[in-house]
Structure formats: C-alpha cells, structure tokens
C-alpha cells in the first residue's frame, strides 16, 4: 500500500472523529460563554433524538414540535395554574404526550410515507390552533408567562444538571436498545420493511413503539423548555421549528443514535458562532435574523443530496453490536439449527403441513392465480415451475401473507391462516427468500442472519435497557448460530461484509441463511439459483437435499430444470395462474400439457 492511500484511509477513519470532537468543543465553548445556550443545546439534542426515533424506523413524522408544544404547555399549566411541583409536572406532561401519541398513532401510522408526513404536519398545526383557542389556560396567541421556582436564576444550575442527566439517560436508553434485538429489528425495518415482516418482525408494533418513543422524548424536551425559558409563545412550536428538528436528525443521520445529538450540536452552534464568534469579519450577519434558518435549510438540502446517511454514516455500523464478532465465538462453526431439529427418514413423506385449497388472487381483474389446491408435507421438496407470469411468486406471496387471497383457503397444520399478517405466518414457521433479493442492505451479513433469528430470541426492551446477562448470552448464542449457518453455506468469510456489496449468488445464499435462522418448518425459495454458476448451483442442490434430511419442507421456484429434476420429490406446474400438472419429476417431464405450455403446440 502506498503512503498516499494509507494517509487517505487514516483521514477516512479519523476525520469523523475529529469532526465530532470539533462539534463538541464548539458546543462547550458556547456553553461556557453563555449558560443559557447549554439549556438550548441540551433541549435541541433531545428534540433531535425524538425525530431520530421515528426516522430510524423509516417514518417521516413532523409531529415532534407538536408533542414538544403539548409537553411544554401541559407542564407549564400544571406547575403554574395547578401548583404542582415542577419535578412532578414534567413526568405528568410527558405521560400526557404518550397518551396523545397512542391515540393518534392508531389511524396515523397506517399511512405511508407522504401521507404520514402530511398528517403529522397537520397534527402540529392542530396543536398550535388548539393552544390559541384556549387562551384561558395557555395565554392564547399572546403566550403564557410562567414563573415557577425552576425558572429562577438560582435554580439555573440544578435545572441544567437535571436536563443534562435526562439527556444522558435518554442516550443510554437509545444506545442499549440499539444494541439489542429491538434495535436490530428497527434497522431491519428501515432497510426493508417487507422482508422484516416476513422474518417475523411485527413492523406495525415496532413503528408504534418508535412513534411513542418520539412523542415521549419530544414531550420531555418541551417540558424542560417551558421551565428553562420561563415564558411560552405558540410561535415557539410553529412549522419551521419542526423543520429545525428534522434538520438536526437528518444532518446527524438516521443510522445511529449519536448522530442526531451531534447534528443538533452542530446546527445549534454554527449560526451562533458564525454570527458572534467569527463576527469580526462577518459583522453584517449580526442583524441577519434569518441566518440560522437559511443555514438549517441549506444543511437539510445538502446533507440529503450529498450525504444521505448524515454524520452517523461516517462511523460505519456503529450501531451494531461489536465485540461479539467471529473471533469471540465459542464454537465458530457449530452446526446451528441442524442440531435441534431431529433428523427424519429421507424416504416417505411426513404429515401435511400446508394445505392450500382453491386459492385465487386477482389484480385489478387479471387473475394471477386461480383455484389452486396443493398439499405440502413434512420433509418434502416441491418444485414449482411454469412460464413467466404463471403465478409462482404470487403463490409464495399469498402463503407468506404479503398479499391477501381473493378466494380460497390456506391451512397450516390444520388451521386457517389466510389473511393473517406476514409476521404471524413467519412465527408459525414459514420462511421465504425473494426472487428480487431483499436483504437488509446497510447491515453486515452476520447481522442479516441474526435478524432472521428475531422470533427465536426473547430479549424485551426492558432487558435490553438493563443489559441483563441473559440478554448478552442470548446475543452471543444468536451470533454463534448465525455463524454456523453462514459456515454451512460457505459464507463465513463474508460475515462482516456489508450485505449489499456481495455478489448476486452470495446474496442469495445469505437470504437462505437468514430464512433458515428463523428455524422454519416450511422454506419457500424463490429462484434460489438465479445468478449462480453451475458449480454453485449443484452445491445449492446438495444443501437443499441436506435441509430435507432435517425435516424441513421446501417449495422451490426455479428455472434451472436440472436442479428441479434432481432434487424435487414432486413438481407442480403452473400456467396462466392455473395448475396444469402435478406429480413426480419423471411423470411431469412427459406430460402433454406441460410440454405444450413450455414449447408451444406444434
């Protein structure tokens, strides 16, 4: 390696740390100069974390300013009008925010991207209008003056300490959650919600949780703001404030919790420093009241265009668990999953797992699948073939719960499961891979597979926060098992790579490993050999047969006919959404209808 590229690597690794230190130093300078700025800084960091909570779960919510307003006014009213002690008024106000969040999350979180943003923008406006409409309590449009003990100068230090400790506590909660199963699930949702759902992650529940966390943290920041400033004006929480908050989180990056804290530190300090500190040369900026807003707006645009990952992305995979990498594993190549499943006889088929009856699905009048019936038994390998558009992927989507059927039934172990949400179907023991690969792109290969074990892990949020030994043990075990799976698929060398950077064939194998991590009883493989060369394909065939010996049933969609003929016990042929043949490979290969569908009538 030449000296130049080594220097470049050093800059790449060291640069972000220097930047982070510079931001912290600038903020420290600010606080020493004017203690009032300390409060502002801490509150902004808290608000940034509130926006982060939603962005991290891929929700563009603009509700943080609204929740901060509720927290601020509620706490102020409780303390001033009802005489509640300040230290009690804050938690009560925060709980109120939580209650409001739970009520509005029911309808609002069903919405997608754009609509969620619009609705939360409307929510902020509603809060603002409501505040104006009840002037008796809030001071209406003129604002509320509140002098509680907490706002007096003598209390300033106590207040700043309380604020700082609260922020540290919140950071701890974010940090510990992000290193647990909970954080991994959220990252999976951010990278690919659909795949996360079919890995058994309850996307809706996690999004609800993220929204609630965001509301609670925003309410807390608002309440502290009220007692720090001493007077409230509903202009404090107008739309541009919501944009500021979004700016902190976007600049900081939605990847890791410390990003938004740094983002808030940067965007709070920069305008002040430019205006005052460096103001000798830029004296005209002193009277330029819009300067901070312009800076915020520009930062928002520049970051989203040129560095969409924000500051956090300069610290690669900082959020992921370190220290339990391969070198720390007790048994690096333990055969995972395999050991647990009792091996069954390879010959005759077991009991029926999945039974599809008269299943149909039409998309705006076009029948993608109609009247399909099929039984899948334990330990059987079922090939699903047919020309493009025959309905093969549709069947997998229907069984995995991503698409509800238009007609017919899907029974799993005798119970009807059609219409269930995908994560519940995954929990029942049905896993799948995707024709167009859906890995969790920003995560390492190992993390991808561990994410697949989500439903087999027990750690709750509380356990993650307490960092209980049981939780750590579970994490280590999950990693061991994931490593075992990667080993079996010949991927262990790639465990630390970013999943999105692997070759096509390797990505397919990672998807299979991730699906197996769920310990499924039925595995549906959608074109697993696409993009693989002959040698890889035949290795995959051996692997699939090996899985069959563990008793896993498989439904394989594939265009490599050699593979299908070799491994399948039974082949189902679809054409235009209908089953045209079913039977042993040799019989299907001779079937008139099949030949016609594939080769056309002569």
């Amino acid at each position: 390696m030449s000296g130049g590229s080594r220097r470049a690597a050093t800059i790449r690794r060291g640069g972000p740390w220097v930047a982070a230190v510079l931001i912290v130093a600038a903020d420290a300078y600010l606080c020493v100069r004017d203690p009032q700025d300390l409060d502002r800084l801490l509150i902004n960091a808290m608000l940034a974390l509130s926006a982060f909570a939603t962005l991290h779960a891929r929700l563009l919510s603009l509700a943080s300013a609204g929740f901060a307003a509720i927290g601020a006014y509620a706490s102020a009213i409780l303390a001033v009008k009802l005489g509640l002690p300040v230290f009690l008024s804050i938690p009560v106000a925060v709980l109120l925010c939580g209650a409001v969040a739970m009520v509005i999350s029911l309808p609002v979180l069903r919405l997608k991207d754009v609509y969620l943003a619009i609705c939360t923008l409307g929510f902020g406006e509603i809060v603002r209008v409501s505040i104006i409409l009840i002037p008796g309590l809030t001071g209406g449009s003129t604002g509320a003056n509140l002098s509680t003990g907490f706002t007096y100068a003598t209390m300033k230090q106590t207040r700043s300490w309380a604020l700082a400790l609260t922020l540290v506590a919140i950071c701890y909660l974010f940090w510990s959650a992000s290193r647990s199963r909970v954080g991994r699930a959220l990252r999976a949702i951010r990278e690919n919600p659909e795949a996360a759902e079919t890995m058994g992650i309850d996307v809706v529940a996690y999004k609800n949780m993220a929204f609630l966390a965001s509301a609670l943290v925003a309410g807390l920041a608002g309440a502290f703001y009220a007692h720090s400033v001493g007077s409230l004006d509903n202009g404090d929480f107008k739309f541009s404030r919501a944009v500021d908050i979004l700016g902190y989180a976007v600049l900081g990056g939605s990847g890791a919790w410390f990003g938004p804290v740094l983002g808030a530190g940067f965007l709070t300090a920069l305008p002040i420093l430019l205006r005052d500190g460096l103001g000798y040369g830029l004296g005209f900026l002193k009277d330029f009241a819009q300067f901070p807003n312009i800076l915020n707006g520009l930062a928002l645009m520049l970051v989203i265009i040129f560095a969409p990952g924000g500051i956090a992305s300069a610290f690669p995979r900082a959020a992921e668990q370190r220290g339990v990498r391969r070198r720390d594993l007790v048994r690096p190549s333990a055969p995972a999953g395999a050991a647990e499943a009792p091996s069954r006889s390879t010959g005759g088929k077991g009991k029926v797992l999945l039974s599809v009856k008269g299943l149909g699905r039409s998309f705006s009048g076009l029948e993608a699948l109609s009247d399909l019936s099929l039984d899948i038994a334990e330990g059987g390998i079922y090939g699903l073939i047919g020309p493009n558009g025959a309905g093969k992927t549709t069947l997998i989507n229907l069984v995995s719960g991503l698409v509800p059927p238009s007609s017919g039934k899907i029974e799993w172990l005798g119970r009807e499961i059609q219409g269930r949400r995908a994560h519940r179907i995954a929990r029942a023991g049905i896993a799948r891979t995707y024709q167009n690969i859906r890995l969790f792109g920003g995560m390492s290969v190992l993390e991808n597979v561990v994410a697949g074990r989500h439903i087999r892990l027990r750690t709750s949020l509380a356990a993650a926060w307490l960092r209980l030994p049981s939780q750590r043990r579970e994490e280590v075990e999950a990693r061991e098992e994931a490593m075992g799976l990667l080993d079996r698929l010949g991927l262990s060398e790639l465990a630390d790579e970013d999943a999105a950077r692997l070759s096509y064939g390797d990505q397919r194998r990672v998807e299979i490993a991730r699906a197996l991590a769920l310990e499924p009883r039925l595995l549906m493989l959608d074109e697993p050999a696409a993009g693989m060369n002959e040698r890889e394909t035949s290795a995959l065939g051996d692997f699939i047969v090996d899985l069959k010996r563990q008793g896993i049933a498989m439904l394989v969609v594939e265009h490599h006919m050699d593979l299908i003929m070799e491994i399948c016990d039974e082949i189902v042929v679809l054409d235009f959404g209908r089953k045209i043949a079913q039977g042993a490979p040799a019989a299907v290969a001779r079937d008139e209808a099949v030949l016609e569908a594939y080769l056309g009538r002569e």
Binding site: R58, L60, P107, R110, L111, K112, D113, V114, Y115, A117, I118, C119, L121, G122, E125, I126, V129, L133, K238, F239, S240, V243, L246, G247, V250, F288, A289, Q290, N293, I294, N296, G297, L298, A299, L300, M301, I304, I305, F306, P308, F363, S364, G441
Partner: protein, 312 residues
C-alpha cells in the same frame, strides 16, 4: 341566534360568490401541486414558498414599478416558473441521480424540499422584512360591484379577476395536458418514467417543463391571493399549504381535474362554515385538516393510492 340569515337568499348567493372565488384560488394553487406530484410521485413542500415569491414578484411589479395588472400577473407566473425550475435543478434532480444508484426513496425529496422551502421563506424575510405589504388603491379599486343595488350581492374586482383568471388557467392547462405533444409526454412520464425513457422521451426535460408549469401556477395563485386579501408577507404560504394538501388528497394525488373540483369544494365549505356556523371563523382553519384526516382514515393510501400501488 339570528335564524333570519339562513333564509336570506342574498346572503346565500353572496357566500356562493365568496366561496367560489376562495375556491378558485385553492384550485389554481393545488393544480400545480398535484401536477408535480403526479409526474414525480413526490411531494414538493416548497410549492407554498414558490407561491409566496410569485406574490412578491407581482407586488414589486405592480406596487413598486407601477405596472398594470396583466404585467403583474405575468411577472408572478414567470417568477414562480423560474423558482420552480431552480428547485428541480437544485433540490430534486441530484436526488434522482443519487436514487438511481441506491434504491429510490420518497422521504429524501420531501426532506430536500422542506429545506428549500425554509431557505426561500427566510430569504424573503431577510429581503422584504416580516411585516405585511399592501397594494396601493390605484392597483385595484377596492370598491365592489353591487348586483341588485344597495343590499345586494357584492363582488369585488379582485373576485372577478380571480374567477376569470382561474377559469382561463384551468382551460389552458387542460388543453396543454390533454392535447399537446408535451402534455402527452408529461402524462406518459407520470404513468411510468422508465417506460417513457425507453420510448425515447427525454424524461428530465419533461420533468423540468412540469416544474415550470407548476411553478407558474403557484406564482399565479400567489398574486391572485395577494390581490384578494391585500396581504403579502413571507409567511403567507403556510396558510394555503395545508389547504393545498387537503385539496390534492381530496381530488386524488396527481389528479388535476380532482384538484380543481376539490379546490372549489373546500372554498365553498370554508366560506359557508364561517357564515353559518357560530364560531365558524375559528373552526375554518381546522376544516382542511379534517378533510385530510377523514380521507386518509378511510383510504390510508390516499384516494388513488391503491391503483398506483398495483401498477408497479
């Protein structure tokens, strides 16, 4: 409470007139909004800031340079078009290029437009100040026409102008989109940018033209609102933004005819709420949100959401 007004036909007609002219403004604003959404499938949250700059451009030309009204309208539309084009080049196109590399995502353009909007409003505040600007009387004689003599229905010159202008704009846009080559290309890109590209349509140029047209509509709406309310300020976009969103959702995202109808509907509903509901003027600001909320409650993907999802 005075129930007499409920039966008063003059009062009723007066509210229809006021509601229609209010609605015409919403329609013109929302048309540009929904046009850009339909083509790009993203929300341009800087549309309201474009609208505000259009109002200021018209005000500068008419109040400061004493130009006649048609020149003011043209200036507002030009300014709106130029700003919207700049937005496309600075805030959206680079993201599309980046999106081609890493998977496209709908949040980034929206965030980018929020940043652009903040810059535009702040620059306006820095240049013009935050306080309200007004037209001198010579620009628009504030004396209304009376239909049916004293005590009859009052129509201001601004209202006549707004209704006439909006009808013309709707007709011209309709013709442009339905009949012209470029209009057809715009519809093709809205349906599928990829397929359009394969068919040899210069997608980037078409998107730029869409922004020009949408921006011109925003600018027109800006100067028309300014003439009606005689109130021009950097914050004026905030008032209409939420209403515009409501109209766009009401009419179906990307649906121009829907936006026109939705605009008139919202204008009428708001006006009648103020007129006939006690405390209506406090409630009217909430109507737009209520519309958004109720529609999305029933159809979480938006009115046209389903069709769009299945197309892909």
């Amino acid at each position: 409470m005075d129930f007499g007004i409920l039966a008063d036909p003059v009062f009723f007609v007066q509210n229809v007139v006021d509601g229609l002219s209010r609605g015409a403004l919403y329609s013109v604003f929302a048309m540009g909004f929904t046009l850009i959404f339909g083509v790009l499938d993203i929300l341009n949250l800087a549309h309201a800031a474009t609208f505000m700059w259009g109002a200021f451009a018209g005000w500068l030309v008419m109040a400061k340079a004493s130009m006649p009204l048609p020149v003011g309208l043209a200036a507002a539309m030009l300014a709106g078009a130029a700003i919207a084009l700049a937005l496309e080049l600075i805030a959206f196109r680079p993201l599309r290029r980046a999106g081609a590399r890493a998977g496209a995502d709908k949040l980034s353009p929206m965030i980018s437009s929020i940043g652009a909007s903040l810059v535009m409003v702040s620059v306006a505040e820095a240049v013009f100040g935050v306080e309200t600007k007004r037209f001198p009387d010579r620009v628009l004689d504030p004396k209304p026409f009376l239909i049916g003599g004293i005590g009859g229905v009052r129509i201001s010159r601004a209202q006549i102008l707004i209704l006439a202008a909006s009808v013309i704009l709707v007709a011209v846009l309709g013709f442009f989109i339905r009949r012209t080559r470029i209009g057809k290309a715009i519809r093709a890109v809205a349906a599928s940018p990829r397929a359009s590209l394969l068919l040899g349509i210069d997608v980037n140029s078409i998107i730029a033209i869409t922004f020009l047209v949408g921006g011109a509509l925003a600018g027109a709406a800006g100067i028309l609102v300014a003439l009606l309310t005689n109130d021009i300020a950097p914050g004026m976009g905030g008032q209409i933004e939420l209403r515009g969103l409501a109209v766009v959702i009401l009419g179906g995202m990307g649906n121009i005819e829907g936006a026109v109808l939705g605009g008139f509907l919202l204008g009428l509903v708001e006006t009648f709420t103020i007129a006939y509901l006690p405390g209506g003027s406090d409630v009217k600001d909430a109507i737009a949100f209520l519309v958004i909320f109720l529609i999305l409650l029933a159809k979480p993907d938006g009115i046209l959401g389903k069709g769009k999802a299945e197309r892909g």
